[in-house]
C-alpha cells in the first residue's frame, strides 16, 4: 500500500507518498524522529524524480492573487475583482504560490514557495462587468424606495500551465 512521508525544511514542507517506505506502520502515538536529514533527502529526491518524469502529472497550485487565494490548475478560469492594470492578451506569471500538489506529492510553502521552483502562467482573457446586483433600500412608512443595480468590473484570467521544477536539496 502507499505510505506517505512527511518531511520538513526551513522554507517549505514537503509531503510525498511513495512505495519505497512501507516498512514501518507507526501510529502517531509512538512516532519518532528517525534521521530526519536522510528522510528529507529521500523525499526531495522522490519529488524531483516525480516532477522530471516523462509522464507528466497534472499539478495544482494555490496562488495568492488580488487579495485572495485560489486553487488553480491547467486551463482554469479565475475571475479577479476589479479593473486591474492589465489588458486582454497579457501574459502574466503568478508568483505568490502557497502550495503546489500533484497525484503523489504536496509542497506547502511557509508561507510561500520559491518563485523559481513553481511557475504558474496565466493569460488575461477578458475584462468585463459583473452581473448587476440589487442594492435596495425601503424606508418603511415614508413611501420611499431606492433601487440601484450595482455592477462591478472584473478581470478574467485563464491559467495556462502549472509547472514545477525539481526540488533543490
Amino acid at each position: 500500500m502507499l505510505r506517505r512521508l512527511v518531511s520538513i525544511s526551513p522554507s517549505s514542507l514537503r509531503l510525498f507518498s511513495s512505495r519505497l517506505y512501507s516498512a514501518t506502520s507507526s501510529s502517531s502515538e509512538n512516532a519518532e524522529i528517525i534521521d530526519t536529514d536522510r528522510v528529507k533527502n529521500d523525499v526531495f529526491q522522490s519529488i524531483s524524480n516525480e516532477i522530471q518524469a516523462e509522464k507528466r502529472h497534472r499539478l495544482f497550485a494555490v496562488v495568492y492573487v488580488n487579495g485572495r487565494q485560489w486553487k488553480v490548475s491547467d486551463g482554469d478560469l479565475i475571475n479577479l475583482e476589479g479593473n486591474l492594470p492589465l489588458s486582454v492578451g497579457d501574459e502574466i506569471k503568478l508568483e505568490k504560490v502557497l502550495m503546489v500538489g500533484g497525484a503523489n506529492f504536496s509542497l506547502f510553502g511557509r508561507p510561500l514557495l520559491e518563485p523559481h521552483a513553481v511557475t504558474v502562467d496565466a493569460v488575461v482573457v477578458e475584462k468585463k462587468t459583473t452581473n448587476p446586483e440589487a442594492h435596495y433600500v425601503h424606508l418603511n412608512h415614508h413611501q420611499t424606495k431606492f433601487l440601484n443595480w450595482k455592477s462591478d468590473e472584473a478581470t478574467v484570467v485563464r491559467i495556462k500551465s502549472v509547472t514545477a521544477k525539481g526540488v533543490e536539496q
Partner: protein, 191 residues
C-alpha cells in the same frame, strides 16, 4: 359670474390638451412590464393583481439585497463549516489545526482548505497528519490516526513551529470608537 368652474377654464388656460376631452394619463404598460419582470413567475394574486405583485416585488428586492450583503460572509462561514467537518472526519479539532498551521507559517485560508478537503483529499489528509503530529509533540490531546492508514510523519516541533505571523489588520467601516457614551469627566488628580 364664476365661469371658470362651469367651463373648466382652468383646463384651457396654458394647457396643451383639448379643452373638453378627457386628459390622457401616461400609459401604465411600461410600469407593468417592469413589475412583471420579477413577478411573472409568482403564483396567484402575487402574479395576477397589481397590488399583490408590488408587495411581492418589494419582498424580492429585499431578499436580493440581503443576499448581496451576506454573500462574502456566507462564503467564509461555509468554508469554515466545511473545514470543521473535514477535520472531524480525520479526528482532528479545528482550533488545534489552525493554531498549528499558523505557528508553522502555512497561510492557507479556510476557503482553500475546504477546497483541498473536497477536491484534493490526499493533500488535505497529509496536512492533517502533519498538524496532528506537531500537536501531539506540543502536548495537546490528539486522537491518533488508524495505524493501518496513517502516514509516516517525520517532523520536529522545535525546528518547525515559530511565532505566528501577525494577522492582517481589518479596517472596519464606521467610527472606530463608540461615541454613544460620553467619556467620563477627569478627576482633578488625573489632569
Amino acid at each position: 359670474m364664476h365661469l371658470s368652474t362651469t367651463l373648466s377654464l382652468r383646463r384651457i388656460l396654458n394647457s396643451g390638451f383639448h379643452p373638453f376631452q378627457v386628459i390622457p394619463k401616461p400609459d401604465v404598460w411600461m410600469k407593468r412590464e417592469r413589475l412583471n419582470r420579477f413577478t411573472a413567475w409568482q403564483y396567484a394574486s402575487e402574479r395576477d393583481t397589481v397590488k399583490g405583485a408590488y408587495r411581492k416585488e418589494d419582498k424580492i428586492f429585499t431578499y436580493l439585497n440581503m443576499q448581496r450583503q451576506d454573500e462574502p460572509k456566507l462564503e467564509k462561514f461555509h468554508a469554515e463549516e466545511r473545514v470543521r467537518t473535514a477535520l472531524a472526519e480525520h479526528d482532528m479539532e479545528y482550533p488545534k489545526f489552525k493554531s498549528i498551521l499558523a505557528q508553522s507559517h502555512i497561510l492557507l485560508d479556510n476557503i482553500v482548505l475546504s477546497q483541498l478537503a473536497i477536491y484534493e483529499p490526499r493533500s488535505f489528509k497529509s496536512l492533517v497528519a502533519f498538524a496532528k503530529e506537531l500537536a501531539r509533540q506540543e502536548g495537546m490531546d490528539v486522537i491518533p490516526d488508524d495505524p493501518e492508514f496513517s502516514y509516516d510523519v517525520h517532523v520536529d516541533n522545535k525546528s518547525v513551529l515559530r511565532k505566528p505571523l501577525p494577522r492582517a489588520v481589518e479596517y472596519t467601516r464606521g467610527a472606530s470608537e463608540n461615541h454613544t457614551h460620553k467619556p467620563r469627566k477627569l478627576r482633578e488628580d488625573e489632569y
